[in-house]
Symmetry: C2
Subunit: 197 residues, 2 copies
DNA sequence: GTCTATAAGCAGATAGAC
DNA sequence: GTCTATCTGCTTATAGAC
């Protein structure tokens, strides 16, 4: 194996190639969802995407870069969702927390198996600057919000709430739960309990 | 790769061989802790254990069986700990929940990196009957306890509390947290909030 | 019972034709 | 730009010596 390269942006994409890149990423996502990480080989991804390995390597310098990009997109979508929620606060701690968690649950329930696989995958990858930044952004948004509400140790609280949410939602996904409202309210109960007790 | 075999008990151990088995498992644990799953090859484990691959395969029918046994032991220890806690209830929901979580936190903080690695690994392995039973035992103990306290939907609550705890503790481990008391009290706050709100 | 050496298979990655 | 064919290295697993 050569040096691990995480950043696919070194190979700036042609506009027309975006469809190919998307097809590759979508193929990888579907393999992760249906067969797990072990089945995610470059050949399998290329097959499923309807291209050859050679083409895959034209767009991604390695398997790791492909996975990193997948995480980057997922995380980006989540952060945008949370940021949008943060933009319209109800200035009531409990309602705002509920809104955050609702957004996170909605995001995870869109493609539960994929979200879970990426959650597990992320800590094992050498994250590039952008992905780290996205995670930091998420924590920062929550942290800033908590601070505004006068929560003590807002950074630690943000980490705890994110972890708690991730844990509960991933577990729910594993048991096949799909009831957004129920899950969201249970997570909110734990989160608000954490904050107000 | 041949058929995946998870159950090492097909090869009943000689009494004197237990030391070798322990050495192999401990070597695997240490590699998981220090270098992660990718570094855990059968050769690396054998090396670190001071035996040859041949010997390893005499005790474990495959890499998967080795990992399964590692999980079985860890989970067994946790379940025993939780069961012991359940045996002396304070008959006060909050205090009992705190005791459970204290036990779980203590367990995870014993070898945080290992516990985390196994938590991530477990869902990817084809679990044998005994490991599944251990997990079910854990959920059952918590569930029965919650039912005794009149909690509604005790099975779902047990799953949620276990997931919430796992999520928070694993995340804390990743950031290098070692303060048992602080972590334990934060998790308890979330758990009690979940139950009483 | 434990070792060494090696077989067998596969994944990641590349070269070169078209 | 995309494909086919191939190489290289590594991992699992086994065979056979001691």
């Amino acid at each position: 194996m050569s040096k691990i390269v995480v950043d696919p942006r070194k190979r700036p994409r042609q506009r027309r190639s975006e469809a190919t890149v998307d097809a590759i990423l979508e193929a990888a996502a579907r393999i992760l969802e249906s067969d797990g990480l072990d089945a995610l080989t470059t050949n399998a991804v290329a097959d499923r995407a309807g291209v050859s390995v050679g083409s895959l390597y034209q767009y991604f310098p390695g398997k790791t870069a492909l996975l990193a990009e997948l995480i980057r997109r997922e995380r980006g979508a989540l952060v945008r969702r949370i940021a949008a929620t943060a933009a319209k606060p109800a200035s009531n701690l409990e309602a705002d927390v509920a809104a955050f968690i609702d957004a996170a649950v909605a995001h995870q329930l869109t493609r539960p198996a994929l979200a879970r696989a990426l959650d597990f995958l992320e800590p094992t990858l050498p994250l590039d600057a952008e992905s780290s930044t996205l995670n930091a952004n998420l924590a920062d948004i929550v942290s800033a919000f908590l601070m505004r509400h006068g929560v003590t140790a807002p950074e630690q609280a943000a980490r705890d709430l994110i972890a708690l949410t991730k844990g509960m939602v991933d577990a729910a996904g594993m048991t096949g739960e799909t009831d957004h409202a129920s899950l969201s309210s249970r997570v909110t109960r734990a989160a608000v309990g954490y904050l107000l007790r």
